[in-house]
């Protein structure tokens, strides 16, 4: 199958990949680039497990084509920590035990980070709406919401 060559920026690094038409960004990340932090949940934009940030906006990577991304900027879960220093959201997810099986976690962390950049001081209800596109079948969401609110408070305090 004919492949197109695509040049993107992923987590700040220039990345070139070959993609066939019809191949999703999710499949490009996992199968071509071996960046398996982004998870494959439903493949139909319902669960949010594959959330990445594309040109500044959170999107479902399963609904984006690899071939359309020439010149795009992409942020994935692999870019969230700085070296071995976890992002405050990642640390709070550990502190609050806001994960069990962990499949939804990269997508939720990525969505929560994008959400807090737009709304640094959200109410609990706003966090729940903000994460409405991310399904978790283990936690019942409460610990996730508390972790996000706690991280938001710390991030505001740290300016």
């Amino acid at each position: 199958m004919a492949k197109n060559f695509v040049t993107t920026t992923i987590n700040g690094d220039e990345v070139e990949f070959a993609s066939y038409p019809g191949q999703s960004l999710l499949d490009v990340l996992r199968s071509e680039l071996h960046m398996t932090g982004t998870k494959n949940g439903c493949g139909s934009g319902d669960c949010g497990a594959c959330t990445v940030v594309l040109n500044g906006r959170p999107v479902n990577a399963c609904l984006v084509l690899g071939v359309e991304l020439d010149g795009a900027e992409i942020e994935t879960i692999e870019g969230m920590a700085t070296g071995t220093k976890l992002h405050p959201l990642q640390q709070k997810f550990l502190d609050h035990a806001a994960l069990q099986c962990g499949i939804c976690t990269p997508g939720i962390l990525t969505m929560a980070k994008a959400f807090l950049e737009k709304n640094p001081d959200p109410t609990e209800s706003e966090v729940r709406y903000g994460l409405a596109g991310n399904l978790c079948r283990c936690t019942g969401y409460d610990k996730i919401v508390r972790a996000v609110l706690d991280a938001a408070a710390d991030m505001r305090a740290d300016g």
Binding site: G22, S44, L54, P58, N60, L63, M111, A132, G133
Partner: protein, 289 residues
């Protein structure tokens, strides 16, 4: 299975040529939030995807003399952030913002919501109420039609071979005008309309209705304009008798299906309730303008 090809033309003419040459298995690709799902579930097997996002007209919101032009590939998130448009057509923008999650909003386009032709598409009743028109490019040139003439059945539009939607035109808001869109869903977020109602009104200086349009979604094979609403509202204030007549007209316009999301009886009843509530919101907004 034929090999899938992908093209991203930069001009409308090039897109039309590609779509015309590609035949019935060529598909327009914009936000991908419906198309990618249909491909993933093997409901469709296109041989050509024509990505229209590199055509500048499809990605812009421009204010022209008599109308606002919204590019077909403008996303829900972009519409929601456009303060001027939101002030002018709050009901239309609210309807678009109800579609999907934040992640879907970042990709889903207003043209896609129309062309996917779901009877439950949230933006469509609001666009019909707003008297929006669809600008279509095709082998025969450019034409524009009322939004209500676009969907012809579930998943089917009136687009001819080689045609695609480049933009939508919303009239500039008149004085004392307002619009609103409400839907019923069993959850609070991330769901598909069981009933949707869009209402747009302009008022006279004395507070009576000068013009009105109401459209329903999810209660018939396509979204539909309720022509009787105009006769009921024009010349009147929104008193109890007028609201009762409006609810009855909305319910009378329904020919819904019975399914797991709502029964015929429920959808028909709720259409009337939401018609009154949407009219009241549109009215309040009109009074403030």
């Amino acid at each position: 299975m034929a090999e899938l090809k992908y093209e991203s033309p930069q001009t409308t003419e090039a897109a039309v040529a590609l779509l015309a040459a590609g035949g019935p298995t060529a598909r327009v690709f914009a936000g991908g939030t419906d198309l990618m799902v249909q491909m993933h579930e093997e409901m469709i097997e296109p041989t050509l995807l024509v990505d229209i996002k590199r055509i500048s007209e499809t990605r812009q919101i421009t204010f022209e003399d008599d109308y606002v032009r919204i590019g077909a590939a403008v996303t829900g998130a972009e519409l929601g952030e456009h303060a001027e448009l939101k002030a002018m057509w709050p009901g239309v923008v609210e309807a678009v913002e109800l579609i999907g999650s934040y992640q879907v909003q970042g990709r889903a386009t207003i043209g896609g919501n129309l062309c996917n032709a779901s009877p439950a598409a949230d933006s469509v009743p609001a666009l019909i109420a707003a008297a929006a028109r669809v600008v279509i490019a095709g082998p025969g040139g450019v034409r524009d039609i009322p939004v209500e003439d676009m969907p012809v059945g579930p998943g089917r539009t009136s687009l001819a071979a080689g045609e695609f939607v480049t933009s939508l035109l919303l009239p500039k808001r008149a004085e004392r005008a307002g619009d609103a869109y409400l839907r019923f869903i069993p959850r609070t977020e991330m769901d598909i309309a069981v009933v949707g109602v869009g209402v747009s009104v302009t008022l006279n200086p004395d507070g009576t209705c000068a013009t009105a349009r109401m459209a329903l979604g999810a209660v018939a094979p396509t979204a539909r304009l309720v022509k009787a609403a105009s006769d009921i509202l024009v010349g009147n204030k929104l008193d109890h008798a007028v609201l009762e007549a409006l609810a009855e007209a909305a319910s009378d316009a329904c020919s819904p299906i019975d399914d797991k999301r709502g029964t015929i009886v429920f959808r028909t009843k709720v259409a009337g309730v939401l018609a009154c509530r949407a009219a009241a919101i549109a009215w309040q907004r009109a009074e403030k303008n």
